[in-house]
Symmetry: C2
Subunit: 353 residues, 2 copies
DNA sequence: CTGAAAGCGCTAACAA
DNA sequence: TTGTTAGCGCTTTCAG
């Protein structure tokens, strides 16, 4: 390895990174004044501030977040907790969340986990304590476990939830109106003339699955169309489970003319199996999805779906979390509800006559 | 906000989290002994260790990483730096990398960035300094910019590179033999009987694009098949650019019978445009990709491609980085080369006769 | 508007 | 095998 003495770029005199002390002595002020400058505390005279900034510049000083955190009880670290099969969803959320974090000087530690494992709540609490994050963002379905929510509340740790199931926890929440959106899609299928509409629900552990199913059921019931239990199948929100459940639906003696899948991955699975069996989409079978993930446009034919504004959700979530860390929230935390947009594309059409 | 006094679960006497001092006094030993126990330093008698562990358990003590880091000069934090359009690739890498990190007690801070922005090197260095990460993993194409590599070396910051372009930097590197893999795919197409094989290269900023192109060219040249410049197109490693370049190839007066795309997204774009024009894959046109991302199996027909062992790469990268942080590396850092596996599926077949 | 002292929670170096 | 003494780099008192 290299010789410690032969130091490279800007470091302190002894080969280490410059500290607040180096800046202070170079600028001829006290530590505290430097501290005030780097934290933009108002009460510093412009002249002093100037001197300090020069010294900072000259030394290439960057404050040490650990030291700052230790002293101030603030880590400027946020935790991103997820257990989700959808790579696009997670990464898009991560990116938009992070963009907002950066603008506020926060960094992000990612913490994937397995909500089915027994120590899952403990693990997350432990993670939060150990890494000293100032707050957590919880993706679905992690955001929907009461045990975890209570544990975090007991820790007095600010967090924000992204999910579908509302419940009275003291944390802000961003949700999409899944029920209404699913209802709109069902109506669209109905409007096209379909009567035999099947529904492939998502993973039962996700609240969104149930909400979407409710939307579907409600519309049919309101329209006086009897629910056929064999037209309702549960999936795992994955492509493979879409193939499986789609296959089962197409195997029925009286198969549906339209299949509404709870997300795009499942819808793609359904379309794949249809292709395999030589069933033309949308001529013989309409397929609809949910999410508007990139695959919706990449698949052939392009998928009618509901657009979740993932980027927007991430941004709002970060804002809310930071607000809540800063204690800027009003009395009660609000739930922000967003409405997915219906994207009509090529995979849905009137039923064969 | 809530009353600080009305404290919830296990906290210190004054409503704060238990510290090493609390543990020490409860166990009736010194701070340092507790420290030894939590760091599993051998020289502690089993009896004392037992006592300490009991106290830890009882108080629900979790060491504060910031304090530890400040004192010990390491943070147990790693940085994950990327600028990559492929969500699957990034997230899969992240997950596998992280799994390995956890086993070694490291947490991960994610740092997406834009390699085209002017301050990009400075930004990453600043990030590293500020967040005190112990090391960085660089994904392609970030891993291929000499300026950044030099800057990190000057910082004495351990890092590991995942990429395609080898160069003598003092850091371990994991790479796939893109050139050889692309050659194997080209040979496969040749073996099927194709002579008019086009190549859609990736993004020119990625070294992998050039390596894959070399593999393609070499095979054709070795087989004495003249390179037709109109059969070589550059993309951006995205679906959309695949559509574009695929379209251009199919517009040729003498279009190819096979298109080898530099990644699966591009290949899907090519297939999409073929579908749109009513060109049957693989009957009239063979299409091959690279990566074996999930879409390769989800698309219809399923895509012949080269499997990059992304999960494996992430794991190795983490191991190497941690080794290098611990100074456990031999004299020189090694480059670990992996070989993608050829996955023959339905999108390639003999050319139409 | 500025500074001095004290200490955040932990580990390092030494000593015992 | 264990404890003591100093800090790590920063922010917080609270004085000036």
């Amino acid at each position: 390895m290299m010789d410690k003495a032969d130091t490279g770029s800007r470091k302190g005199a002894d080969g280490k990174r410059p500290t607040i002390n180096d800046v202070a002595s170079l600028a001829g002020v006290s530590k505290k004044t430097v501290s005030r400058v780097i934290n933009s505390v108002p009460k510093v005279s412009p002249a002093t501030a100037e001197k300090v900034n020069e010294a900072i510049e000259q030394l290439g000083f960057v404050p040490n977040l650990q030291a700052r955190g230790l002293a101030a009880r603030y880590s400027y670290l946020l935790g991103f907790v997820y257990d989700n099969p959808n790579a696009y969803y997670v990464l898009e959320m991560l990116n938009s969340f992070l963009r907002q974090c950066r603008e506020n000087g926060f960094e992000l530690i990612v913490h994937p986990c397995d909500y089915r494992s027994p120590g899952f709540t403990t693990d997350i609490v432990r993670f939060a304590r150990q890494s000293q994050v100032d707050g957590l963002v919880l993706l679905p379905p992690i955001s929907e476990f009461d045990e975890l929510l209570s544990a975090l509340a007991a820790e007095r740790l600010p967090f924000v939830r992204i999910g579908s199931r509302e419940n009275a926890h003291h944390a802000p929440m961003i949700r999409c109106d899944d029920e209404d959106a699913a209802a709109r899609m069902t109506t669209h299928l109905l409007d096209l003339g379909h009567e035999k509409i099947a529904f492939v629900a998502g993973h039962p552990d996700h609240a969104s699955s149930h909400a979407r199913l409710r939307g579907y059921k409600n519309v049919l019931q309101n329209e006086g169309i009897p629910l056929r239990p064999e037209y309702i199948r549960w999936s795992k929100y994955t492509f493979e489970s879409g193939e499986e459940q789609g296959g089962a639906l197409l195997d029925l003696a009286d198969p549906p003319t339209a299949i509404f899948a709870s997300n795009d991955a499942v819808a793609c699975g359904v379309m794949h199996i249809a292709h395999e069996r030589g069933i033309a989409v949308p001529a013989e079978l309409s397929v609809a999805g949910y999410d508007d993930s990139p695959i919706a446009l990449q698949i052939w034919p392009s998928l009618t779906t509901l657009r979740q504004p993932v980027g927007h959700i991430g941004k709002i979530a970060a804002k809310e979390l930071i607000k809540s860390i800063r204690g800027e929230h009003e009395e009660r935390f609000e739930t922000i509800v967003l409405h997915p947009e219906l994207k009509l594309r090529e995979s849905t059409a009137p039923p064969p006559s």
